[in-house]
Symmetry: C2
DNA sequence: CTGAATTAGAGAACTTTTTCTCGATAATTA
DNA sequence: TAATTATCGAGAAAAAGTTCTCTAATTCAG
């Protein structure tokens, strides 16, 4: 028998599907606010302008079971996704880099309801150490590894200049970090066991710049959706 | 005969390859600063901890021709990539949203050498209109479509709250934008002809949160690289 | 109570991306 | 001058991801 109402075994989850779940999640929340109580994958696909089978496969992957002809109970589905992604169990995170990007990240107060809580900020700049940004005290970088170890922080955010990214990553690894979210435009190397997510704007910029020059300015008429 | 030293026909360029070029580009620049003059794909792969054939395919895709047993002239390769991506021909861009994220984006002075120049900033908030951020005047949002049309701006950046993202995108489309770089955590719908790039942190957060809970904390020993 | 319509689920087909393999070429060494 | 080796270039194979198609279950209408 197949697993039914249990999302215990996370066999093989496509990265692409994982990254689409937040899109569904937000759309579902809007529907909920609109007072809807049942939803089918087809509804969701229509609302977002996406392929219905793609949405179905993604939802199916989370392990939730729907009813033919009806779909899913909206509230159940929303909670299921929260639980599937771990968004209802915030994980501690440390941020390194209290510059403009770091400050912007500290301002995102919705992170906590999406699985992450930034519990400490570190910087190497004496000017910044001791100051408070969005209610969090900036600490000296040298305290980072100990803090990670002591507080069992699983996630580290890097928001420092490219040149400093690798050494910050190394410090995090020393402290025993499990995952790194790297916002610096730099390729950092970490042990294979570390989960690494790069948020490098220049990757997107390369794609955009190339397409602007090479994708012909079509006289498109059809309305469609995103990537 | 196959096209040799001409990157004129942009047949089918894999998105994934496009997004890796900046990684190579930066590594090559570092090598150049280190005084190296020749480089092979194998060198590059080694420096980055990536698969050599992957690197070879990506470089090959750009259309540059190398010499067996030697590789490429470093400077030629760097310039070739700049030219291939259009990074040596900055494209005008408008930014909407002068909040903390928008300000951080305006602070990235390296964008201009990477194919993009933010020429104007718009916001709907009266408090912000008229102020200068990183030497650029914040203009009222209602002037956006005209500005795009008049100045032939091909690229628009959205850095507003999620709720406002769709209407800003609509204004850009009205103005005749060709590509949109969306930093708002929202799914915007645009005509198919528009190139859309989403930079949604919650996509990454979903992936990270899920993996932290489901990828076992391996006792890995091997050193490896990123995604 | 019966038939029509809608939807989840599952597998097949297709596409895209990555990895593997091998021949050709140029530099290096004997 | 010939053998050797490192590297590019290109095609084939494999893997990953997306789309298509069909079946079974359930609701709704008559």
């Amino acid at each position: 028998m197949k697993s039914l109402a249990s999302n215990d075994r996370p066999r093989e989850i496509p990265e692409a599907s994982l990254r689409r779940l937040p899109i569904y999640y937000r759309s579902l929340q809007m529907m909920m606010r609109a007072g809807i109580s049942q939803v089918s994958c087809a509804d969701l696909a229509r609302a977002l302008g996406l392929d219905p089978t793609l949405v179905r496969k993604d939802i199916e992957m989370t392990g939730i079971v729907g009813k033919p002809r009806v779909g899913y109970t909206l509230q159940d589905l929303v909670q299921w996704i929260e639980n599937f992604l771990g968004w209802n169990r915030p994980k501690k995170a440390v941020l390194v880099g209290a510059g403009s990007l770091g400050s912007a990240l500290l301002g995102y107060d919705r992170f906590r309801s999406h699985g992450m809580e930034i519990v400490a900020v570190f910087d190497i700049d004496r000017e910044k150490i001791g100051k408070r940004i969005h209610d969090r005290l900036v600490q000296p970088l040298m305290l980072l590894p100990d803090f990670i170890t002591r507080e069992h922080v699983p996630l580290g955010l890097i928001a420092v200049p490219a040149a400093a990214a690798q050494s910050v990553a190394d410090l995090m690894v020393v402290g025993g970090i499990r995952a790194i979210w790297n916002f610096a435009p730099a390729h950092v190397r970490v042990p294979a066991r570390i989960i690494l997510q790069n948020e490098d704007l220049y990757h997107s910029l390369a794609s955009l710049s190339f397409k602007l020059e090479n994708v012909p300015p079509e006289n498109g008429i059809i309305y469609a959706e995103d990537n």
